[in-house]
């Protein structure tokens, strides 16, 4: 928790848009009860938004999917934005993605529609304040847990978001360089560690999985993203249900993979090719339906090394 008890600042929802949810790092330690993980589907952009304000790892930020949200400031503050370009404006001035900006009482922060990517993260000093439910603020609508209202609800008109006015001493971090920002307009190259039932897929399917392009289907949400492309044939059609990790690539009998994301069910019984890395999941979460993606096998130790480097940058202290 941040040290000084400053004044609370509110953002009032003038227009809600399709989906905006508070997300901390996720809900852990209760998956054995059937409670999903939750948390930001793009952990990379979420971490950057918090980092730009020197927030601690796990601070709750707002995940805005698609745009359409309009907020009125009821106080002065510094905020930060990362992830998709949703054509954000402060009154009439454009706000660059991956930036920090000041906002004053009465000003309107407005999210338009996706210009590049799908989800933006808005961070506030110290994180938005909300009652943790089962140890987390992560908003999961299906379970009725977390979020700004404690009931997993998405933001509605006239809701308020609350945070403490920051008193952060010292220098705030630099915005990411162009190299550190993913180009969401490019085809997504998604790293995958092979595992689970990969040996049960036939050779032609394994070849196709990694050498043909895939399209993001319109059946895509915080639970999972379906890909369409070559039919993957597996000798196993269903299995005894078992625990499913983030990024699991499950293949139901129609041969079209579903990548399971943060709000996935905790157990499942379809064969799996392996699992996307967390950073690949983050990249996938920025793809609109129809976007081209490629699966790329990566060795387990190298994939974990990449993620460690990412975590070390944001999770120190």
């Amino acid at each position: 928790m941040s040290a000084a008890a400053g004044n609370n600042v509110q953002l009032r929802v003038e227009r809600a848009g399709p989906l905006a949810l508070l997300q901390d790092a996720g809900r852990f330690g209760v998956r054995r009860l059937g409670v999903t993980q939750g948390g930001p589907v793009d952990i990379h952009a979420w971490a950057w938004a918090n980092h730009l304000l020197n927030n601690q790892w796990g601070a709750a930020a707002l995940e805005i999917t698609f745009g359409g949200l309009s907020l009125i400031a009821e106080g002065d503050a510094q905020l930060a934005l990362a992830g998709a370009n949703l054509e954000v404006t402060l009154d009439d001035d454009p706000i660059e993605p991956w930036s920090r900006f000041g906002i004053q009482a009465g000003q309107r922060l407005r999210f338009g529609s996706p210009k590049d990517g799908l989800r933006a993260y808005l961070a506030a000093p110290g994180g938005f304040l909300a009652e943790p439910v089962l140890g987390s603020v992560a908003g999961v609508a299906r379970e009725g847990l977390g979020g700004h209202d404690g009931q997993g609800g998405k933001l509605q008109k006239d809701d308020t978001l609350i945070f403490q006015q920051g008193h952060e001493e010292g220098e705030l971090p630099q915005a990411p360089s162009a190299d550190e920002r993913p180009d969401y307009s490019q085809p997504a190259r998604l790293a995958l560690v092979i595992g689970a039932q990969s040996a049960e897929f036939d050779g032609a399917s394994l070849f196709a999985a990694f050498n043909r392009s895939w399209q993001v289907d319109d059946r895509a949400d915080r639970m999972g993203v379906r890909l369409t492309g070559p039919e993957l044939k597996c000798s196993v059609s269903s299995m005894i249900s078992e625990g499913i990790g983030l990024g699991a690539v499950q293949v139901p009998p129609d041969g079209q993979p579903i990548i399971l994301l943060n709000d996935r069910q905790t157990i499942g019984g379809y064969p799996r090719l392996g699992a996307l890395t967390p950073l690949a999941c983050a990249r996938l979460a920025q793809c609109l339906p129809g976007h081209e993606v490629w699966l790329q096998a990566q060795a387990l130790s190298a994939a974990q090394g990449d993620y460690r480097r990412f975590l070390r940058m944001f999770r120190s202290g």
Partner: protein, 249 residues
């Protein structure tokens, strides 16, 4: 194939496969491993998901490499023995948890179908469902939703062809060899045969879920009066299950 096996489940997770088939006797072993992981991995442990034949172990990638996590798990498995592992902690209790159930057509529209398919009388169906203990193999689908088995052969019904959009909270249901109760209103494709007044998931309760993996459960038939006195909601299920087109598979 040799068991247990450790399978890659991601850059920060191993799936421990202890058994190949569903068996009541699996659960003490899986829960013994779960307790050992909690004791031994400490801060490096992120989450655990026990289920039927496996345990998913999610660890902190900043504290353990995949190889280190694998070695730790192999050591925990080496002399795993639920008998010698003590009787403290999750999944060790021999207590049977009882769920009071009002079996009635108004709250269990597929009760008559179950009668029809089994050729049993109403009383015999209720007796069969409530006359034995079940083991919880996993929690999933929704918070506090327990997959329990195994149902007697006569009570086996496939899932509904078309799931209901809104299954009322407390609905007691069967599908294939399993039975469960819905903790809160949700979509659902299982056959409804009654309703329990028990609060299955409560964010204010210590431990949140009434039922835990490895627990034993018994259903106790009650009449409408007892059900209401226990706080049960008698609102009938209005949405029809798509049972007419149901295949006999």
């Amino acid at each position: 194939m040799q068991l247990p096996r450790l399978e890659v489940a991601g850059i920060d997770a191993w799936l421990v496969r202890l058994f190949d088939d569903i068996d009541d006797a699996n659960m003490p072993w899986i829960m013994a491993l779960l307790r050992r992981c909690e004791e031994s991995l400490g801060e490096a442990l992120i989450d655990l998901v026990p289920s039927y034949t496996t345990l998913l172990v999610h660890y902190d990638p900043l504290q353990l490499t995949p190889g280190e996590a694998r070695s730790r798990l192999a050591m925990l498995l080496a002399d795993l023995d639920p008998e010698k592992d003590g009787d403290q902690g999750e999944g060790t209790s021999d207590n049977v948890k009882e769920l009071q159930v009002w079996y009635d057509d108004s709250v269990g529209p597929e009760l008559s179908l179950l009668q029809e398919r089994s050729g049993l009388s109403r009383e015999a169906v209720i007796e069969a469902h409530s006359g034995q203990e079940y083991r919880i193999f996993a929690l999933g689908f929704a918070p506090g939703f327990a997959f329990m088995g195994s149902l007697p052969e006569q009570l086996v019904l496939p899932r509904l062809d078309t799931p209901r959009k809104r299954v009322p909270a407390g609905s007691v249901a069967v599908a294939n060899r399993q039975t469960s109760a819905y903790p809160r209103i949700s979509p659902g494709g299982w056959n409804l045969i009654g309703r329990t007044s028990a609060h299955l998931f409560d964010r204010k309760r210590d431990g949140f879920s009434l039922l835990r993996v490895g627990d034993r459960v018994r259903f106790v038939a009650v009449d409408r009066k007892e059900f209401e006195e226990a706080g049960g909601d008698t609102t009938p299920v209005e949405e029809r299950g798509a049972s007419a087109s149901r295949k006999n598979s």
